[in-house]
Symmetry: none
DNA sequence: ATTCAATCTCCCGATTTTTCGGGACTGGTT
DNA sequence: AACCAGTCCCGAAAAATCGGGAGATTGAAT
């Protein structure tokens, strides 16, 4: 079996989502899983979130058409958790044999019907270069006897976690890069000669401006006069080639010059 | 040397922050590091963030009294990254040899002065059970020759990453539990990502504002009166709970409501 | 020791822009 | 009928922008 650092190395050399998908499929088959998928779990109200995976088409379409994203107990847990878990460990409100089945219950039942006896889910929370936060859910699907799964997991749980973290990261990077290339937002500024450098104070006033503070507020916070804040702000806006405070703040954020 | 799963096992049995601290100190000494710390890196405007670590008291006080939290390039990188890195790989705005030193440069210089030759930083982004998102920065400090560090890292980088993830998680869990006991249960807030819906026009005016356009500019572009643009802007700012145009634009970007 | 450039600090006055509180009319949808 | 999105207006107060100027401090280079 492939070692963890070999697996991660293989993942990190991938340059397309297709390649990435095949690489991971190879790795997890090694461990005994049948397929996997990874989806953006950030927003419960989106019907068809971002998705990559190798699970059979009929399972994907069942999942989507039944709106399981909204009720899947695994996805719900992923949003509030950081530790990997098995399907078997998720507590689904017991079906009492009477009344209506809960959405969570239906989801798990449908997975069983598709031959998935167990699954290993890895939550991954991450920030993009703008500092925006996302959550993703990755699942490995198991079709063999559960007993074998238990044995595997007792020994390889951390390996799987680590591999999935690096895989998810790589997937995000590739998608983000494609998006950047399509939109052409952030080129140009790579040349160190033209690179913009703000002073500490300029960054300070921009950061506070980004948080909605007025000049007067910022002056109070930084313990300097309003005139000084205005001066820093003017210099920063000029350096950034922006046309006003709002534009300056947005540019600074996109260039990674300030955090908010 | 302790195996990874043993280390993680040891971490997961800890029940107090003190115990946790000692456990990790033992583990990293095994790897050759001198000390470590972990701090909340959520936002750059907090003076004394949550902190646990074993770094010498004089380094901690230097770090705090100089306000390095605000300018530390490692912390800045952690906020927008998910992959571990070494201090040596952080690009500090080159010191041009003239004028003042930037805060980032001063921070790295001070670390050197305290005998830290290298460091390994692990970002960790996580959600608590209420769905709130945090970022933490963990650093392992190295005082031996750098060459030995490079060698260690080439072989143990993933082990260190994994250990730190589980450690950070355990630290958060313990602190959260103590906090709950003291303060009672905090109510979960609505996820702002799903709660706010802007109308098409509101998004339009915000997008143009993000590009630096004034109300008059936007009115010309959208072919509507200035009054209308103002109205849309006011509504958008109110919906976003922002305090002015700049704040509104920043919030909208972070919530993924507008693209620029 | 001197010079130099960058940074940080502060002020003035005039103009432009934003912000805030109202209100009002239209055209769809539910 | 009620609601929402979109459109438009008024007036006054608050804030930002612009283009100057100017002294203090700092760290590096000659």
């Amino acid at each position: 079996m492939m070692k963890v650092d070999e697996a991660v190395g293989a993942i990190e050399t991938c340059s397309s989502t297709e390649e990435l998908k095949n690489t991971l499929q190879g790795i997890i088959e090694d461990y005994g899983f049948s397929s996997f998928n990874m989806l953006d779990a950030g927003n419960p109200h989106v019907d068809v979130p971002f998705y990559i995976g190798t699970t059979p088409e009929n399972w994907v379409s069942t999942y989507i058409s039944n709106g399981f994203v909204h009720v899947d107990p695994c996805v719900a847990r992923v949003r509030r958790s950081n530790t990997p878990f098995s399907w078997g460990d998720v507590d689904v409100p017991k079906y009492e044999g009477t009344g209506r089945k809960s959405g969570a219950w239906k989801t798990m039942e449908a997975a069983q019907d598709h031959g998935f006896r167990e699954g290993f889910v890895v939550p991954f929370h991450y920030t993009d270069p703008l500092g925006r936060v996302y959550s993703s859910s990755s699942a490995f699907y198991w079709t063999d006897p559960v007993k074998k799964y238990r044995f595997l997991l007792s020994r390889k749980r951390y390996d799987l976690h680590l591999i999935m973290i690096y895989w998810a990261q790589r997937a995000i990077d590739i998608v983000a890069e494609q998006h950047r290339n399509r939109q052409g937002i952030l080129e140009a500024q790579q040349d160190p000669r033209t690179a913009i450098t703000l002073t500490d104070r300029e960054r300070d006033v921009l950061s506070w401006a980004a948080r909605g503070k007025t000049v007067a507020d910022t002056a109070g916070i930084l313990f300097i006069s309003e005139s000084t804040v205005e001066t820093h702000l003017r210099h920063a806006i000029a350096k950034l080639g922006a046309s006003n405070k709002t534009h300056g703040v947005v540019k600074a954020i996109y260039l990674g010059l300030i955090d908010v």
